[in-house]
């Protein structure tokens, strides 16, 4: 049996972000949340890999794991609605405020508890903290090979897989022995919409919830206190307050005036 493990995160949906000025942490209560948009591609790829393996006559299971407060359960139900077979929720006050070092540690312990992974898939990054660290960092804790910016999983072998990854000047094709960790980009697929029957069964689906003790995590590696990085402060970036509207009676005139400005300021 091949265990596909997809790591997802519940992140704020709205663009109105509220930050606790004392801790620099996000105030989650009241903010509308959803599955991190990048993780949609990870989940979809996990389901597609299962479908491909099934077509090869192999048995595969899509496991979805998330770490987060009790309400993060919602994104696991969304995953079930789309086709996840098993869902796991790491939920413990000990995890709260973890940076990427501590989060990737906790997830790696959860993955070990699920056991026997074939492929571990993460989204490229989250839409809240934007680090893009987690895939590579899980692979480091577990001593597995990894690839970030994966745009295609081209071959699924028994002991290795072939993937294409985006790099600045082109595309690398690399072969990784399994278990392997992938962080995938939007280009990789088009996520499906959950079926009605999927949504119905998701409502009552049994979610496995694990604490730090359940996954045998070392508590000195968890939470804000034990995270190597700390937020010193957070602030809203300065936006351009005074736009200069380019003057001119016609499009042509305005274009001429813009070129003048660009040249005068040596922008071009």
């Amino acid at each position: 049996m091949k265990n596909i493990i997809v790591c997802i995160k519940q992140t704020p949906k709205s663009d109105n972000i509220k930050i606790d000025p004392a801790t620099g942490c996000l105030i989650r209560t009241g903010a509308e949340s959803a599955i991190n948009p990048f993780d949609e591609f990870a989940l979809e790829e996990g389901i597609r890999i299962k479908e491909r393996l099934t077509a090869q006559g192999k048995t595969a299971v899509v496991n979805v794991i998330t770490m987060g407060p009790p309400q993060a359960e919602a994104v696991l139900r969304t995953s079930v609605a789309k086709g996840a077979d098993k869902v796991f929720h790491l939920s413990d006050i000990a995890f709260a405020g973890s940076d990427t070092w501590a989060t990737s540690y906790a997830l790696s312990k959860g993955i070990q508890k699920i056991g026997n992974p074939y492929i571990i898939i993460c989204g490229k990054q989250t839409n809240d903290s934007d680090t893009g660290h987690i895939g590579a960092q899980i692979s480091a804790w577990l001593k597995y090979p990894n690839s970030s910016f994966v745009r295609k999983v081209s071959e699924l072998g028994d002991a290795n897989i072939t993937v294409e990854r985006l790099v600045e000047d082109g595309t690398d094709t690399i072969n990784l022995s399994t278990p392997a960790v992938l962080s995938v980009v939007k280009e990789i697929n088009k996520p499906r919409i959950a079926s009605i029957s999927g949504r119905i069964s998701a409502k009552t689906f049994e979610i496995t919830t694990w604490t730090a003790d359940d996954i045998k995590a070392d508590k000195t590696k968890l939470g804000m206190k034990n995270s190597p990085t700390k937020v010193v402060k957070s602030f809203t970036p300065k936006r351009e307050a005074n736009s200069i509207v380019i003057e001119g009676a016609t499009s042509k005139e305005r274009a001429n005036n813009l070129v003048k400005i660009l040249k005068e300021n040596q922008y071009v």
């Binding site: 990427t100 903290s129 480091a140 970030s148 072939t162 600045e168 190597p228 400005i261």
Partner: protein, 331 residues
């Protein structure tokens, strides 16, 4: 390890046999930080062919260059690179380590931070030394650029961060500058890799790396079709820029995903960003709001991007752009 280390490192990436110009940007900020900490500025080279890169890095401001040269470093094998880099860190215990926030640099920094057991700040756009604590304060955009967070790593060393390309200028070259070159012996047998490099395919003509360009001409829904993007290309060519696109244009198949700017695409920081027919939704702004100068060209004076841009030009892109091209040509 606290307070013992006195070096600020930068990773000088070698990509397909060339020294990445981002290395010289990292040297610029490393030198600035070193003025505050008293650290030496060091560059790290990992390559199968070092050429004259170490000397070049010295001319551009490195006091020491650590060189790891071995044929196992021919391609970016993250397993080998991360293990080797961890060994180099353990052997020399740098105080600060700045890596490029390129696709390879971001992934490598993340993996290495775990192996070297330290904290990492991703994709910083501003680095400062705190006056009192002498700690590195790395500021980075989060929530798609809607919030800036300043991060520090108090206890563990090195204080690692990746820095967004084009954030700082490159250092000047001083041919007379002296520095030390230290070879780091690569024990290739020691490094296990579960990765096999198969092949590399270069970008197609329309896929130029938008992160490396100082001038971007981006098109959105308002550019409509191939003809529109051909105009954008002409405009970009006339000013040494690169064409990029909003999600709408990529989803319509007018441009490849690699050129998509925004939350689900790339985050870029060019000197000049010309947004053509882009309304400027939050998701798009997340990818380009830190550009030095934003010019917006849009039919709709009320489009959100017009209020965010430094220069807003109301007009149809199909009328404005040909005129821009002809005016830019006439000196």
């Amino acid at each position: 390890m606290k307070n013992k280390s006195t070096n600020t490192w930068v990773l000088a990436e070698v990509i397909r046999g060339n020294l990445s110009p981002v290395a010289l940007e990292l040297l610029f900020i490393a030198k600035k930080l070193a003025k505050e900490t008293g650290d030496k500025v060091c560059a790290v080279l990992m390559t199968n062919d070092k050429k004259d890169f170490a000397q070049k890095l010295i001319c551009h401001g490195a006091d020491i260059v650590y060189v790891a040269e071995d044929k196992c470093l021919a391609n970016f094998d993250e397993d080998i690179y991360s293990q080797l880099l961890t060994d180099m860190i353990k052997a020399h215990t740098p105080n600060i380590f700045v890596l490029p926030a390129t696709s390879t640099g971001r992934s490598l920094s993340a993996k290495t931070a775990i192996l070297a057991d330290t904290g990492l700040t991703a994709d910083a756009t501003d680095l400062q030394i705190d006056k009192e604590t002498k700690l590195l304060h790395a500021t980075r955009p989060t929530f798609g650029g809607n919030l800036m967070a300043t991060i520090m790593c108090e206890v563990k060393r090195p204080q690692m961060c990746s820095l967004r390309p084009l954030t700082y200028p490159q250092t000047e070259c001083d041919k007379k500058r002296k520095g030390e070159i230290v070879n780091f012996k690569v024990d290739a047998k020691k490094y296990k890799s579960n990765v096999k490099f198969v092949s590399f395919k270069e970008l197609e003509d329309n896929e130029i790396d938008i992160c490396a360009s100082e001038i971007i001409v981006a098109g959105g829904r308002g550019v409509k079709d191939e003809k529109g993007f051909a105009l954008l290309k002409q405009l970009a060519d006339s000013i040494g820029g690169t064409v990029a696109a909003s999600r709408a244009a990529v989803d319509n198949g007018l441009m490849p995903y690699r050129c998509q700017v925004g939350l689900t695409g790339k985050t870029i920081k060019p000197k000049l960003y010309i947004a053509c027919g882009i309304s400027g939704q939050v998701q798009h702004m997340a990818g380009m709001s830190s550009s030095d100068v934003i010019v917006a060209i849009n039919k709709d004076a009320e489009a959100p991007i017009m209020a965010q841009a430094k220069y807003a030009l109301v007009g149809d892109v199909f009328e404005v752009i040909p005129q821009l091209i002809s005016q830019l040509k006439s000196k």
